[in-house]
Subunit: 282 residues, 2 copies
C-alpha cells in the first residue's frame, strides 16, 4: 500500500475509534446510568467520564495529529499551530468542567476528594496539561520568543504532550475500574453484567485510540514536510540533527512547487548520507 | 550540563525509581498484607503484584534502555541484543508465574477470572509481549533473517515495545486501584489509611519510572552510536532516512577511534544539511 494511503487509513481509524468511544461513553451514562444533569447527584458526576473522553482524550488526540493531515500541508504553519492550541484549550476547558462535576458530586455525597490513585494522577495530568498549554503558547505563539528557545524547548514539548496523553488514558482506565466496582452492586462487577462488559469494551477502544494516535505521531515520514526538512537543531550540548525525507513527501503529487524543490535538494544530500550508512547492525 | 552526564543522570534516576518501586511493593505485601506463599490464598495472590513490578515493569524497562548504556557501546551489538532478549525472556517467565498466582487465588476463593478491564488489558499485554518476544528473536537473533526484513520490522518492534511497556504500567495502576478497593474494608480506601497512601505512592513511582525510561529511549542523541550513524532505511514505500549525530557521540572522549572516525564523517555532511535547514517553522 502506498504510504499516503497508510497515513489516511491510520488517521481515519483513529478518528473512528475516537468517535466510537464518545458514542459508547454517552450510551453508558444515558442508558446504563442516571443520564446527565447538574444537581450535585450521580447525573452531574456523569459529566466527568463524558467530558474526559470528549475533551481530555478525543480532542487532545486530534490536537496531536493536526500536523499530520496531508490536506493542510500547503497551509500556513501558524494557522495549524493556532488550531493545535485551540483544540487543546477547548479540551482543557472541558476537563475543568469535568473536575468541577466530580468534586460537586463528592461534596454532595460526603465522599472524600483526592484519596485515590486515580485522583492523584488525574489532577497531576490536568496541572501538567495546563503548564504545557501556557509554555506551549508562550514558546510557539508569542512572536518575540527567540527561535533558539523554540528549538531547545521543542523536544520537551513533544515528549510532554505524548506523556500527558498516555497518562490521561491510563487515568481514564483507572476511573472506569473505580466506577464499575463502586457503581455495580447487584449484580456486581465480578458477575459481568451487560454494563460491565460494555464499559470494558469502551476501555479497550480508548487504548486502541491511544495506540493509533501514538503510531501516527511517531512515524517520521508522516510529518508535515516542512518539519521533515528542517526538524530540530538543538543549540545546547553540541547540537543534534534529525532530518528525514519520508515516503509521503515524495508521493504526494499535489504538494506545492516549493515543497518539491526542497525535497529535491534533500534527495541530493540523502545520497551522500546513504554512502555513510554502510555499517548497519540491526 | 554535558550531554553524557544528563544521560547518566537519567539512567541512574530510572534505576533508582525502579528499585524503589520493588522495595515498596515488597513492603506492601510483607508489612501491610499477608506476606508471600503458595497456598492458593492471599499470600499466593501477593506474588502477582510483586512479580509484575519486578518482571513486567522493572526488567522490561531495563531491557528497553540496555542499548543506551555508554559503557557498552564499544562491545558487540550481538551481546547487547542477547542481554536485551534475555532480560525480556526472564521478565516473561516471571509474568507467567504472576498470572498463575492470580488464577490460583481466584479459583480457590471462587472469584471469577477475566471479568475486569484490568484482566482483559493485562492478558492482552502478556500475549502481545509473548508475540513481541517470538518475532523479535526470529527477526533479530536468527542469523539467516534478511537484513531488509530486519530494517522493515524495526519501527514496528520499537513501537510495540514501548506501547506494551506503557500498557503494562497502566494495567498495574488499574490493578492497584482494584486491590485497594477490594482489600481495604475497615478503614476503607476512601478513608486514606496508611496502606492506601503508601500504595498510591508506589503507583506514582511506577509512573515516574515509566516516564524516565520513555525519556531515555526517545532521545535520538542518546542512541548507541552505531544506531545513530545508520538508523533505519525503509525498503518499502519510497524509503525513509532518519540519521542523527548526537551530543553524546561527540562528547564521549573514551569512545573508540572507529566511532570517532565515523562521527567526523557525519559532521562533514551535517554542515551540508544545516545549509538546507534554512526554513525553520517552529
Amino acid at each position: 500500500m502506498e504510504e499516503w494511503k497508510k497515513l489516511l487509513l491510520a488517521l481515519g481509524s483513529a478518528a473512528a475509534a475516537g468517535l466510537v468511544s464518545i458514542v459508547l461513553v454517552l450510551r453508558w451514562v444515558l442508558s446504563f446510568r442516571e443520564g446527565l444533569g447538574w444537581d450535585g447527584g450521580p447525573a452531574e458526576f456523569n459529566w466527568h467520564p463524558v467530558l474526559t473522553v470528549v475533551g481530555f482524550i478525543f480532542l487532545q488526540g486530534m490536537a496531536l495529529v493536526v500536523y499530520r493531515l496531508p490536506w493542510t500541508w500547503g497551509r500556513s504553519k501558524l494557522v495549524m499551530k493556532l488550531i493545535h492550541a485551540g483544540l487543546n484549550l477547548l479540551a482543557f476547558a472541558l476537563v475543568v468542567v469535568a473536575l468541577v462535576a466530580v468534586f460537586d458530586f463528592h461534596n454532595s455525597a460526603n465522599i472524600p476528594n483526592m484519596y485515590s490513585l486515580h485522583s492523584w494522577l488525574g489532577l497531576a495530568a490536568v496541572l501538567l496539561y495546563g503548564l504545557q498549554l501556557v509554555l506551549g503558547i508562550g514558546m510557539f505563539l508569542v512572536p518575540v520568543t527567540p527561535v533558539s528557545w523554540r528549538a531547545a524547548f521543542m523536544p520537551l514539548h513533544v515528549y510532554s504532550g505524548l506523556f500527558i496523553f498516555c497518562s490521561v488514558i491510563a487515568v481514564a482506565l483507572m476511573g472506569i475500574t473505580e466506577k464499575l466496582i463502586f457503581g455495580l452492586s447487584n449484580p456486581k462487577y465480578k458477575d459481568s453484567p451487560p454494563e460491565a462488559v460494555f464499559v470494558n469494551v469502551l476501555g479497550v477502544i480508548l487504548v486502541l485510540f491511544g495506540a493509533l494516535i501514538l503510531w501516527i505521531v511517531t512515524r517520521p515520514s508522516w510529518k508535515r514536510p516542512s518539519d521533515q526538512l528542517s526538524h530540530i537543531l538543538h543549540t545546547r550540548g553540541g547540537g543534534e540533527d534529525s532530518i528525514t525525507a519520508g515516503p509521503v513527501l515524495s508521493q504526494l503529487s499535489e504538494e506545492s512547487e516549493d515543497i518539491r524543490r526542497r525535497s529535491n535538494r534533500k534527495k541530493t544530500c540523502r545520497c551522500k548520507l546513504k554512502e555513510l550508512c554502510n555499517r548497519k547492525t540491526y
